[in-house]
């Protein structure tokens, strides 16, 4: 999970990293802060500045309209639900520091540069990055940092060493996947301050990371996917509020592929979903939850369910689907159920006996054809 900048900076401040003073606001009227300041959209993607998500607020009178404008944005599919108001930092040198995994070699990669900023991805900037890999331990990472410092301008070395001393233990303690400080402002007096902060943490470690868990539980609307996964153990991502196809699918890869193929065919999936039938354990509540969500899509005109029962049993699944449909009467859209694998014949019999008019296909291509045709038909009709 990518932490929002505000929460990343709170985490940094706890371990003694200097960050500009800032507050999180979700409502333009509640903004009590010292002006001038910077208002920054809190979304887990880059390019916020270019999207108009980072603006200066000069006076208290400007605050409300500017914050409202930012809160009204959607940046790379992420609706802006919160804004960080942050104190200005004096003009200073912009350096770069990051810690990440090198997944290939199983090492920690440390990157530093005397010049950071928004163009760090450009080939010219990347060419200037100093980098070193270290065994995945704190000591090895600290030692590796020392090998890079002599290549930095002397005025930056103390600040960068200090950054490493703060960030490396944090990386291990919070089980981070990435910590990136860009820009890392180097102040005239040799001090430093984290201008922006990107921290990616490991969702799989949440069971033993109470602090990160608490953050998600406190801000479920800011981390909707992580909150869902934490509370209910499955994945559901709203992709397109105007989507016409609701998906009730299992398996991350197959579900992603279905989303891709439906888009290629000119339709708009409302959601991504990996419902994990293995976790049902005879309880329809996950299905009920997902059906409620897809039924709530204002433009959803057709539902596609896909279950490939390689290791599960369709005869156990179908009764749960029937119970769930009964519990969500507001779902009126036509449903195509693609199922194949273990227990198919028994599952068909259960469906037939129920009298439910749900349409069954065993072939995925035919099921997608049918679901898209249903969407088109209801749009025309």
């Amino acid at each position: 999970m990518m932490l929002l900048e505000h929460h990343a900076k709170e985490l940094l401040a706890q371990v003694g990293v200097p960050v500009p003073e800032g507050i999180l606001v979700t409502d333009s009227k509640a903004a009590h802060f010292a002006f001038p300041c910077i208002a920054k959209a809190q979304v887990p993607v880059g390019g916020r500045g270019k999207a108009g998500g980072i603006l200066k607020i000069n006076t208290v009178a400007d605050a409300q309209p500017i914050i409202e404008r930012i809160l009204g944005l959607t940046i790379r599919h992420h609706p802006v639900r919160a804004c960080r108001l942050e104190a200005l930092v004096d003009e200073s040198a912009e350096a770069y520091f990051s810690l990440a995994f090198d997944a290939d070699t199983g090492t920690i990669r440390i990157l530093m540069a005397a010049e950071g900023g928004v163009d760090i991805e450009s080939p010219e900037m990347r060419a200037k990055l100093l980098q070193v890999s270290a065994a995945p331990t704190e000591d090895a990472a600290q030692a590796a940092v020392e090998t890079l410092l002599p290549s930095l301008p002397p005025a930056m070395r103390a600040a960068m060493r200090e950054a490493a001393v703060r960030l490396i233990p944090l990386f291990f303690a919070r089980e981070a996947v990435l910590i990136e400080i860009n820009p890392l402002f180097i102040l005239a007096d040799g001090g430093w301050i984290a201008g922006d902060a990107k921290i990616i943490t490991d969702d799989n470690a949440l069971p033993r990371q109470p602090e990160l868990r608490a953050l998600i539980e406190l801000y479920p609307t800011l981390y909707p996917e992580a909150a869902l996964k934490l509370a209910q153990g499955f994945d559901f991502v709203r992709l397109d509020p105007d989507g016409d196809i609701g998906l009730v699918t299992t398996g991350a890869g197959l579900s992603m592929q279905l989303v891709d193929e439906i888009i290629q065919r000119g339709h708009r999936p409302f959601n991504f979903c990996d419902i994990r039938t293995g976790g049902f354990k005879g309880d329809p509540s996950r299905l009920i939850q997902v059906l409620k969500w897809v039924a709530s899509g204002p433009k959803v005109r057709s539902i596609l369910m896909n279950f490939f029962a390689g290791n599960t049993d369709l005869a156990e699944l179908v009764p749960l689907i029937l119970q769930a449909l009964e519990a969500v009467p507001q779902l009126r859209q036509p449903i195509t159920l693609r199922m194949t694998g273990n227990g198919l014949d028994a599952a068909r019999k259960i469906l037939a006996a129920s009298g439910n008019p749900i349409h069954v296909e065993t072939d995925l291509e035919r099921a997608v054809d049918r679901a898209l045709a249903d969407a088109k038909e209801s749009q025309n009709g």
Binding site: M1, M2, V43, P44, V45, G46, R76, H77, H78, F101, A103, D104, G106, E121, A135, P136, F172, E175, V177, L178, I200, D202, D203, N204, A205, P207, R208, E225, A226, D235, V237, L239, T250, G251, A252, G253, L254, S255, M256, Q257, V259, D260, E261, I263, Q264, P269, F272, D274, F308, G310, N311, T340, G341, N342, L364, E365
Partner: protein, 290 residues
């Protein structure tokens, strides 16, 4: 050839052989023909039909097991891997979903230092169809044949192989490498086996966004002078930036691991990157004889 990656009759023990999932999966692996010689569990389970031992070391000593498939909860996987290494196991397959990435990093270091092959963190396992499987690749998708298959995604590979099998195309060896970012065996690690194996006539890659494995795989094809046809499906073209799409590894950030970079790298070395499952099945059917 599959034997170059693992011997089809390699003696296998199951860590976490008791309990609902371990028990039923063990029975299914035995039924498929896997040479399961032992189970390891702290507790007894009268319903488990194979010899049970309290520790890996004991199981290895008594049965000569050389491989382990691990069915323990995600936070216990690292300890299980360390125990298997200590006991002298040569191949470890871990299937639990949700192993923390810092644990995976420790496991990667430990297995590499010990010279142990690790397939994981989270994978449906591997199979030499018709002979053995470690893990739970579904039987309906398995059939002996000429395709070397590697997959990041369980479900998508089940669907792809199911449809290929319907068209008469089975597999020599299928390795689920898993959707984690830090993993034991990466796509590129398996290429030399497929390249060298005379029975493998084509290679199917079920990849997805995130990481750089597909890009490395392209380099590995060149390095191993592999001229066999390669068919790739890459899921996640429309994934949202900044959101984990089910798999921990499927997170796009800052233009690394996008469909565009992967497609370009694979096409450059002559691989076919197909836009849909149907297109992949058609491409295999028109390029290879069943």
């Amino acid at each position: 050839m599959a034997d170059a990656f693992l011997a089809h009759d390699i003696p296998v023990l199951v860590q976490g052989a008791t309990g609902r999932s371990g028990r039923s999966q063990t029975a299914q692996m035995v039924a498929y023909g896997t040479n399961i010689v032992a189970g390891v569990s702290r507790r007894d389970d009268p319903e488990v039909k194979i010899p049970l031992f309290k520790t890996c070391a004991e199981a290895v000593r008594e049965t000569g097991a050389k491989a382990s498939v691990v069915f323990v909860p995600p936070l216990d996987v690292l300890a299980a891997i360390n125990e298997a290494i200590e006991a002298g196991i040569e191949l470890i397959v871990t299937v639990a979903e949700g192993m923390p990435v810092h644990d995976a990093l420790k496991a990667k270091t430990a297995t590499r230092e010990a010279g142990v092959r690790w397939v994981g963190a989270s994978t449906p396992g591997l199979a030499i169809p018709g002979k053995m499987k470690m893990g739970f690749l579904p039987n309906v998708s398995l059939s002996p044949g000429g395709l070397g298959v590697m997959s990041k995604s369980g479900t998508l590979s089940y669907e792809v192989c199911y449809r290929l099998v319907e068209r008469g195309f089975g597999q020599t060896l299928w390795v689920g490498v898993g959707g984690d970012s830090v993993k034991g065996t990466r796509f590129a690690d398996v290429i030399p086996f497929f390249a060298a194996d005379p029975a493998t006539t084509g290679i199917v890659i079920v990849g997805e966004i995130g990481g750089s494995e597909e890009e490395e795989l392209a380099d590995a094809l060149i390095a191993s002078r592999c001229t066999k046809p390669v068919f790739a499906l890459l899921a996640g073209r429309s994934a949202l930036e900044g959101v984990t799409m089910g798999h921990a590894g499927a997170l796009i950030s800052a233009n690394i691991g996008t469909i565009e970079t992967k497609t370009a790298a694979l096409r450059k070395v002559g691989a076919q990157v197909l836009p849909s499952i149907k297109a992949l099945v058609e491409a295999v059917s028109t390029t290879l004889a069943p």
